[in-house]
Amino acid sequence: MADAHGTTLPAGGRAAAGHDAHAAGGGGQPHPRLQHHFYSMDQQLEASILGMWIFLVTEIMFFGGLFMAYIAYRTMYPDAWAAGSQHLNVWLGGANTLVLICSSLTMALAVRSAQVGSRRGQIVNLILTIVFGTTFLVVKYFEYAEKFEHHLVPGPTFDPALPAAQQLFFALYFIMTGVHAAHMVVGVALMAVILVMAWKGRFGPDYYGPVEVSGLYWHFVDIVWIFLFPLLYLLGFHLGH
């Protein structure tokens, strides 16, 4: 028969705080951020991280459908894919990739600042992350504007001189980068919220879950771009511009 106090328990792999309806953070008042159904801040943090990773798995499958379409059509129309890719601006795409990588660095540093209790570090790094994210979106805007000018938007305005299958490439280009950009917008908004909370000094070594979990989302959006860049931009260059 298990005694709750001090027993190593198989469930959840940690000793339970036992019969207390409200678990103490360290023999006293419960942490103000501890939700009523968790018995410790550790459990709450681990649950949050696990939850965010499961959500990211849904995002992997969400983008996965788009990549499936990409793979199928690239197999069917390799020439249209290579030709379509050549219309994309590899310098802007590459710059955007570096911008996002910088933003991932500052995001990781922001989480670290919260872990070590540096309010200034959190604020600086979160602002930088937001700046980099916004830069990405601005560059994207210019890229899209360029496509409109060059009649590369699928539909009635598409350049009739180009083979029909290239419309498929551009449809996927717009949808894949568009869905990605939508996720970036959400990410920037999320970072703004976290920034406000960090400004108010909410986070520290004992409570930084929201920063870490938002960081996971941000890094994931970066990873999607890490795949989008070569698959969309880098296909046709070895064939000559």
Binding site: D42, L45, E46, I49, L50, W53, I54, L56, V57, I60, M61, G64, G65, F67, M68, I71, A72, T75, M76, V90, G94, T97, L98, I101, C102, S104, L105, M107, A108, L109, R112, Q115, V116, P205, E212, G215, L216, H219, F220, D222, I223, I226, F227, F229, P230, L231, L234, L235, F237, H238, L239
Partner: protein, 101 residues
Amino acid sequence: MSTTHHITPVRTYVAVFVALAAFTVVTAAVAYRDFGFLNTTIALGIAVGKATLVVWYFMGVRYNTPLTRVVVVSGLFWLLILFALGMSDYLTRPWMGVPGR
């Protein structure tokens, strides 16, 4: 302290950042040379490498629980199921010998 509280040093993050930037330059440079079918392989390989660095270090999976790693791997595995069984249709259609396919 539980594993989730591990604090990564700044220099590790910066090293990962430098690696990611370097890989980006390499992948763009390789695209300009013709390696045949290897172009795609190298590009995807580098992308996978970059993604692994982000997941392992920036996202902290190196210091997370085994359960978290199972979750990450499962997501990727399920993606592969979609690709593999989906492409089993597209790649074998030419075998059917129907005119126009």
